[in-house]
C-alpha cells in the first residue's frame, strides 16, 4: 500500500464495487474493515418501487462527500476512508452508496462507518425520485416520512 493514503469521497456514475472499496482501505495497520452498501429496495414506505433516479448539486455534493471523508478520517484517526455515491438511474438491488473504513480497532471502524452515512444523509445535496410500479414518480423527502427509518 502507498504510504500516502488519504480519505476519498466522490460521486460516481457507474456500478459501486464493494470489493474495490475494501481494497482501498486495506492496510497492514488495520485490524478491522467495514463496508456499508446502501441498496435500492423494492418497497419503501409501503409503495412498490421499480427504480430510483439520483441527482445532485454536483460540485457541492462532491465537495461535501470529500469533506465528510476528511472529517471522518480526522475524527476517528484513520486515513482509510473511501466513500462513493452513485448518480443516475438505479434499478432494484443496485448500490446507491458505498462506504469503506479501515481502522486498527473494530469499535472505531463501526463508529466511523455509521457517522459517515448519517452525515451523508444529513448534508450532502443529493436527491432521489422513486419510480413506482403504477408508473408514477415522486421526489423523496425523508423528513416527511414516518418514524420508520428510511432506506437504506
Amino acid at each position: 500500500m502507498s504510504q500516502f493514503v488519504s480519505p476519498i469521497g466522490e460521486l460516481v456514475d457507474r456500478t459501486i464495487d464493494p470489493g474495490a472499496l475494501l481494497s482501498r482501505v486495506s492496510s497492514p495497520s488495520n485490524g478491522a474493515l467495514i463496508v456499508f452498501v446502501g441498496v435500492v429496495r423494492e418497497v419503501n414506505e409501503g409503495r412498490d418501487v421499480t427504480g430510483i433516479e439520483y441527482s445532485a448539486y454536483e460540485p457541492m455534493a462532491a465537495r461535501e462527500l470529500q469533506a465528510i471523508a476528511d472529517e471522518a478520517g480526522a475524527r476517528f484517526a484513520t486515513p482509510h476512508v473511501a466513500i462513493e455515491h452513485r448518480l443516475g438511474e438505479l434499478a432494484l438491488e443496485d448500490a446507491s452508496v458505498g462506504i469503506a473504513v479501515g481502522h486498527a480497532h473494530r469499535g472505531a471502524a463501526y463508529e466511523a462507518s455509521r457517522w459517515i452515512i448519517e452525515e451523508l444523509k444529513r448534508r450532502v445535496p443529493i436527491w432521489k425520485r422513486e419510480h413506482y410500479t403504477d408508473g408514477t414518480r415522486e421526489w423523496v423527502d425523508p423528513a416527511s416520512r414516518s418514524a420508520q427509518p428510511a432506506s437504506p
Binding site: S55, Y57, M60, S96, I117, R122, P125, I126, W127, W139
Partner: protein, 80 residues
C-alpha cells in the same frame, strides 16, 4: 448586481426552472434572494425557509451575496 440562482429536484419542478438570473441591489443577502424568488409563480410550493447555499457552501439568510455568486436553494436532501 446579478446572481445566479440554482434550483433542484422538487424546487426546480415547482418554479419550472433549474437556473435563474436575479438582479439585486448591492448589499443584498441570501434572505433577499429568497424573498425575490418567493414572488415567482410556483414558489408557494417551497417551504418558507429552505436550506440555502452560496458558492457551494451552506449559508444562513443573513449571509451577504456578491455579484456573480452562485446561490442554490437546497430541497430536503435524500442521499444514501
Amino acid at each position: 448586481m446579478s446572481v445566479t440562482v440554482l434550483l433542484f429536484a422538487s424546487y426546480a419542478d415547482a418554479l419550472g426552472a433549474s437556473s435563474l438570473s436575479l438582479d439585486l441591489p448591492a448589499g443584498a443577502t441570501v434572505g433577499d434572494v429568497l424573498a425575490e424568488l418567493m414572488s415567482r409563480p410556483g414558489a408557494d410550493r417551497l417551504p418558507p425557509s429552505p436550506l440555502m447555499a452560496v458558492n457551494q457552501r451552506y449559508a444562513s439568510a443573513d449571509s451577504p451575496v456578491r455579484s456573480g455568486d452562485e446561490v442554490a436553494v437546497i430541497p430536503p436532501v435524500a442521499g444514501g
